[in-house]
Amino acid sequence: MEESHEPHAHHDHGKHLKLYLGIGGALFACTAITVWLSYVDFGSSRANFIVAMIVATIKAGLVGAIFMHLLSERWTIYRVLLLTGFFVLGLFLLTLLAFHNPISL
């Protein structure tokens, strides 16, 4: 099966190269920021946790959206990921709920 048509999903990869390097730089910066922020006290350990998770989510979002091309992906993939996200949240939240809601006699 020889190459008869050009890859059409991302037609100009040259433009994308700058984007990839830029996002890489942003990720490096976020890493440095999260390390620095971990030495700042935000009041409670819960607050520290939330701050760290927000930065991590931003980094994860950049990797997912740009490097994994999720921003331009198809609905089939989105559906699979939405289902997965729902179930993983269910696992976390319901297990946490069970942990925090023991029987009271």
Binding site: M1, H5, H8, T76, L83, T84, F87, G90, L91, L94, T95, L97, A98, F99, N101, P102, I103, S104
Partner: protein, 626 residues
């Protein structure tokens, strides 16, 4: 921009890829990447494991009916028993004759019966075997999307089976902590001679290989169904069997990994001395255990049941799919409520992920979380009832042919009904307080799996055997097999409801004899006495399989030869030759109709194949319309 990549590049390839590299024996029959060979490999292995798990149960039933008696009251068998399992596992009776199952061996058989039946028996047979063989054919594909991955999945599964089987023969015997392998027992049990060479650890290793095989298989199924449907095979033209397998594959894909995580944790606990599931201050045998503590036994239960609840839907859904196909075919009319069934099965699959803690009502959960799980558990009965009702209503007005597959399919309906309806009391926290871990639960789930899925498996075997071999299985032996199985399976499980309601507990090695002091008698028998009825029915059920085994092997070479479509069915697998060659179809079919065009008014025959063009789509050009 997103221009149509014309699919004409697909059709011509079907013709010119005839390299005819003649594959050797090993590549054709052992390390094959052909989905049909792999399906048969799964099927034969699965049936063997089902038989092995059944044998374990038959031995357990002797112990339950006649605790303390030598095996089958035969000194010769008792001696053989001891030779196989050793004198630590097989003890003497009151007179000193060897051949009495010890409590440890009973527990090992119980745990392995569950594990083998669920993970090595039903899933490979109902899902992997039939799914692999039939799904690509039914959607008009030449094979699965990833044939090599398919082969890898099978071998991973087989390896897991070998490991599980080998675990019987290590010192200390097989895993004994239930198929649910609860911590802390599963962590601390079985320590000799070292942690690696014990049944419990091998159970974990076997499970990891089994889960890997299932995950890879699930990926294959979903990709194949999404990507390889023939032109014209829209989602709502897929046979219900394909929908059932799609949902099952998703359940396996997303529910298995947390159990893999838990299995790794339990493995670390046993091998590396961690305390994932061991709480602080744990005392075993009067001694404080030398561990760091800080773990939670409940974590194991949550992660285990997160899989194991969707797993039970994995066990039943392919069976429902098979029954739908067999039923539509043998009633000569379309399924009633196909769309409702499709939506019901999707909702069922979705809800199955958020009901798991109904297995944990007695672990000390508070009101909020119990209420949540009770609500979702009751909700999930709704799509189940939709499915059963649609199947029952589909019988109305049909011209029913009681072929052997149809006998099993018809019996499936009330049996599935009993199994499902008896689950409803268990959904309620208050009732489950009494019924949890009693024989009532055993009866409930066995009604779904034994006269449920296993009957569906039998129906599927009799139905698709002609496609796989080009020959029919014998009808007379099939009827004997059906009636004997039907009668005995009810004899095994119906009394268990009674025993459960009388309070008899699961996993009691003496069959409730010590509980019998309550002396509650129903219909002339105490809970314990019913064990004899159940056990004899179980042995009868075992004998009832002999006609099937004989029929199966005999018919491969001696059955009546048939052509492509002996059942006059409408779905695409009956377009291919019997058996289909590598690549399945002479010409890729294109689909013009729904899957159940039976008894269409005005048609010549009482069935029309899916690939038969309608007057609107009659092909004018040679290139297939899509």
């Amino acid at each position: 921009m997103a221009h149509q990549v014309s699919s004409h590049e697909v059709a011509p390839h079907e013709h010119h890829e005839h390299h005819h590299v003649e594959l050797g024996f090993w590549q054709k029959y052992v390390f094959s990447t052909d989905h049909k060979v792999i399906g048969i490999q799964y099927g034969v292995s699965g049936l063997i494991f089902l038989f092995a798990g059944f044998t374990l149960m038959m031995l357990m039933r002797w112990q339950l009916a006649y605790p303390g008696h030598v095996l089958f009251d035969s000194p010769a068998l008792g001696k053989l028993y001891q030779m196989i399992f050793g004198d630590k596992m097989i003890g003497p009776d009151a007179q000193g004759h060897p051949g009495v199952m010890s409590a440890e061996l009973y527990n090992a058989f119980g745990a392995m019966h569950g594990t083998i039946m669920v993970f090595l028996g039903i899933v490979p047979t109902a899902f992997a075997a039939f799914g692999n063989f039939v799904v690509p054919l039914q959607i008009g594909a030449p094979d699965m999307a990833f044939p090599k991955l398919n082969m890898a999945s099978f071998w991973s599964f087989l390896l897991s089976g070998v490991i599980m089987f080998a675990s019987f023969f290590v010192p200390g015997g097989a895993a004994k902590s239930g198929w649910t392998s609860y911590s802390p027992l599963a962590n601390i049990t079985d320590q000799a001679p070292n942690m690696w060479l014990t049944g419990q650890t091998l159970w974990i290793i076997g499970m990891v290989f089994n889960i890997t095989g299932s995950l890879l298989g699930a990926i294959n199924f979903v990709t194949t169904i999404i990507q390889l449907r023939a032109p014209g095979m829209t989602w709502m033209r897929m046979p219900f069997f394909v929908w059932a397998n799609l949902v099952t594959a998703f359940l396996l894909l997303l529910a298995f990994p947390p159990l893999e995580a838990a299995a790794i944790f339990q493995f670390m606990d046993r091998i590396a001395g961690t305390s994932f599931f061991l709480p602080s201050g744990l005392i075993v045998g009067g001694q404080q255990v030398h561990i760091s503590g800080g773990g939670s036994p409940l974590l194991w239960q949550h992660l285990f049941w997160f899989l194991a609840h969707p797993e039970v839907y994995v066990l039943i859904l392919p069976g429902l799919g098979i029954i739908a196909e067999v039923q539509a075919n043998n009633t000569r009319k379309p399924l009633w409520g196909y769309k409702a069934m499709v939506f019901a099965i999707l909702v069922l699959g979705f809800l199955s992920f958020i009901v798991w803690a109904h297995h944990m009502y007695l672990t000390g959960m508070g009101a909020a979380v119990s209420t949540f799980f009770q609500t979702t558990t009751i909700l999930i009965s709704v799509p189940s009832v939709v499915l059963l009702t649609a199947l029952i209503l589909s019988l109305w007005g049909g011209s029913i042919r009681f072929t052997v597959p149809m006998l099993f399919a018809t019996a499936f309906l009330p049996m599935f009904g009993i199994g499902g309806l008896t689950g409803i009391p268990l959904a309620f926290n208050a009732l489950d307080l009494y019924l949890h871990d009693t024989y009532y639960v055993i009866a409930h789930f066995h009604y779904l799996v034994a006269p449920g899925t296993i009957f569906a498996i039998f129906a599927g075997v009799y139905h698709w055997f002609p496609k796989a071999t080009g020959r029919m299985m014998g009808t007379f032996l099939g009827r004997v097999h059906f009636w004997a199985s039907f009668i005995f399976v009810n004899g095994v499980f119906m009394p268990m409801f009674l025993q459960g309601m009388l309070g008899m507990h699961r996993r009691w090695y003496d069959g409730g004899a010590s509980y019998d002091v309550s002396k509650v008698v129903v219909w002339g028998m105490s809970g314990f006495d019913w064990n004899k009825v159940i056990s004899m029915s179980a042995w009868g059920l075992g004998l009832a399989q002999l006609p099937f085994i004989f029929n199966f092997f005999y018919s491969i070479w001696g059955g009546k030869k048939i052509g492509r479509n002996p059942w006059d069915a409408t779905t695409l697998e009956w377009v291919a030759p019997s058996p289909p060659p590598h690549g399945n179809f002479d010409v890729q079919p294109s689909v013009h109709r729904g899957p159940y065009e039976y008894s269409v008014p005005g048609a010549e025959a009482d069935f029309i194949l899916q690939s038969e063009p309608t007057s609107a789509t009659a092909p004018a050009a040679p290139a297939l319309a899509h």
